[in-house]
């Protein structure tokens, strides 16, 4: 009964579809990022997104225009992290930390210039997938197609570079190009994920479904598919639970993901004792 009522609302339909698409992107890319120890790149790019949102709010850009304005800034920042890590002899985590701090500092500075924090900025910090508009859903679907097409086209090269970068290079794979593709895809996904769980929790959506899948997967392809399934199921459950119990959707999704992680961890431990 509740399900029928829930599905009768346009905003719920959009939230469930948009949330599922974004969950698939986050979970699939998450597997590559976690295995390459780049988990926190999502966090760093999310902080850049915070700065970009503040900039967009300063210019009074809203909804889909804001998303379109943020994308190039976050893409450029993701390239900045890569360049810092590759050319400036700075470790990847330090590069992420630097870009992340610049993002937050810019955001705070701009918000201050604009006359202080307001409700808009707060909603971007914690996300609200229930407010996703039709045009935002179209953008999400378009970016979903682009990112998934990239993953499919570069799948074997991504797998090889993730397994061992030197071995991949010795097979003639241009690992620098593959790293660029991965980071750019992550940047696009982070911009979308902001709507689902908010800037503060984006890294959870990238990391937790992937880590849960890695507990139980029996092969690389199986890890990717399992992560995507866990991502979609937890986002759908989270959105539904937040609707029924009037809870914040982003936080609900993250906590459900944590419960799944505990379950998979327990499952692995039990299997190990057999």
């Amino acid at each position: 009964m509740i399900i029928t009522e829930m599905l009768s609302y346009g905003f719920m339909q959009r939230a469930l579809v948009g949330g599922s698409l974004i969950a698939i992107l986050c979970s699939v890319l998450g597997v590559f990022l976690v295995l390459r120890r780049l988990s926190l790149i999502g966090d760093g790019l999310a902080h850049v997104t915070f700065g970009s949102v503040a900039l967009a709010l300063l210019f009074r850009l809203q909804s889909v225009y804001m998303t379109l304005a943020i994308i190039p800034v976050v893409l450029a920042s993701s390239m900045g992290i890569l360049q810092l890590a590759q050319k400036a002899r700075i470790y990847g985590d330090a590069a992420i930390g630097i870009v992340s701090a610049i993002g937050i500092a810019t955001g705070v500075m701009l918000a201050s210039v604009a006359g202080g924090f307001n409700v808009d900025l707060f909603s971007y910090l914690f996300g609200n997938i229930l407010s996703i508009s039709s045009s935002e859903l179209v953008i999400a679907a378009l970016l979903f197609v682009i990112v998934i097409a990239c993953v499919v086209m570069f799948y074997n090269e991504l797998f090889a570079s993730t397994f061992d970068e030197d071995l991949a290079k010795s097979s003639g794979i241009d690992t620098e190009r593959i790293n660029t593709v991965l980071v750019l895809m992550t940047a696009l996904t982070v911009v979308l994920a902001m709507k689902v769980v908010g800037i503060m929790l984006i890294s959870a959506l990238l990391i937790i479904p992937a880590v849960s899948a890695l507990q139980i997967a029996k092969g690389f392809k199986s890890a990717i598919v399992t992560a995507a399934v866990i991502g979609v199921v937890t986002v759908i459950c989270g959105i539904s639970l937040s609707f029924v119990m009037n809870l914040p959707s982003g936080a609900t999704i993250v906590l459900i993901n944590f419960a799944v992680l505990l379950a998979t961890f327990g499952g692995r431990a039990l299997r190990g004792h057999k």
Binding site: F163, S170, S171
Partner: protein, 250 residues
């Protein structure tokens, strides 16, 4: 030049200003089995990295299978086995056949898709190496010796003409090490692959290799074992006992 598997001319290379290789020259004929030895920090792994294109040299020329390295594209003709994986994660979710199949990527152009031929090549290699029974096992759940065997299968899956092995037995127990050497010896004899083996194990390599390159940033010795054993210069360098150990022509 055409019949050379590898040619290195006046090669200098290093990291951040310090030179690890100074004016290194040698060439390897097809079908040779070359043991590359030298003390720690002598530039053995740097040489391998330059040969494989993982490190750009500061000066000098490298030719692979008759082609200058700058225009070399046929990485499927070269198999590479490192000492171990760079940052091996024991929880990496890949099965043995997934890992071996990765070796087939070097022969492919974008978008690098696998075909039935690739599956058949993986099956053939696993059978030859006697590891078909573990094809579905996770790579992280294998012992060190078995994991190196799987990575050797990955290097061999294209039937490479040149096989580069960088200290592949360092982490293995003596028994596994011996069977590993035998396998590379068979590769060299039966499949006529040229083998380049970097090793610390100077006392064993003479049993299998046809030629020796002894490096200490520069080439100290390059030639066959017969020459090494008869070289009074090497007696002076290693001492009689040391030379006899490396010779391994008891």
């Amino acid at each position: 030049m055409k019949d050379k598997a590898l040619s290195v001319q006046n090669l200098c290379a290093g990291y951040h200003g310090s030179e690890a290789l100074q004016d290194v020259c040698f060439s390897v004929n097809r079908g040779d089995y070359l043991g590359i030895c030298g003390p720690n920090g002598s530039g053995k792994s740097t040489l391998v990295k330059v040969i494989l294109g993982l490190l750009a040299p500061t000066s000098g020329e490298v030719s692979l299978l008759g082609t200058p390295k700058s225009s070399f594209q046929r990485w499927d003709r070269i198999g590479y086995l490192p000492q171990g994986l760079q940052f091996f994660n024991p929880h990496f979710p890949a099965t043995v056949d997934e890992v071996i199949r990765l070796g087939r990527l070097s022969a492919k152009k974008f978008p690098r898709r696998f075909s039935r031929e690739d599956a058949a090549a993986v099956d053939r290699t696993m059978e030859w190496m006697g590891i078909s029974n573990i094809r579905g096992s996770m790579i992280g759940e294998l012992s060190g010796g078995l994991r190196q065997r799987v990575l050797l299968a990955r290097a061999l899956v294209n039937d490479p003409e040149l096989l580069v092995l960088d200290e592949p037995t360092t982490a293995l127990d003596p028994e596994t090490r011996e069977s590993f050497y035998k396998l590379t010896f068979e590769m060299n004899r039966e499949r006529k692959s040229t083998v380049l083996l970097v090793t610390h194990d100077t006392a064993t390599i003479g049993k299998y290799a046809s030629h020796l390159l002894y490096l200490d940033k520069k080439v100290i010795f390059y030639g066959d074992f017969e020459d090494f054993c008869n070289s009074s210069e090497m007696t002076g360098f290693f001492g009689e006992h040391g030379q006899h150990l490396v010779c391994h022509r008891h």
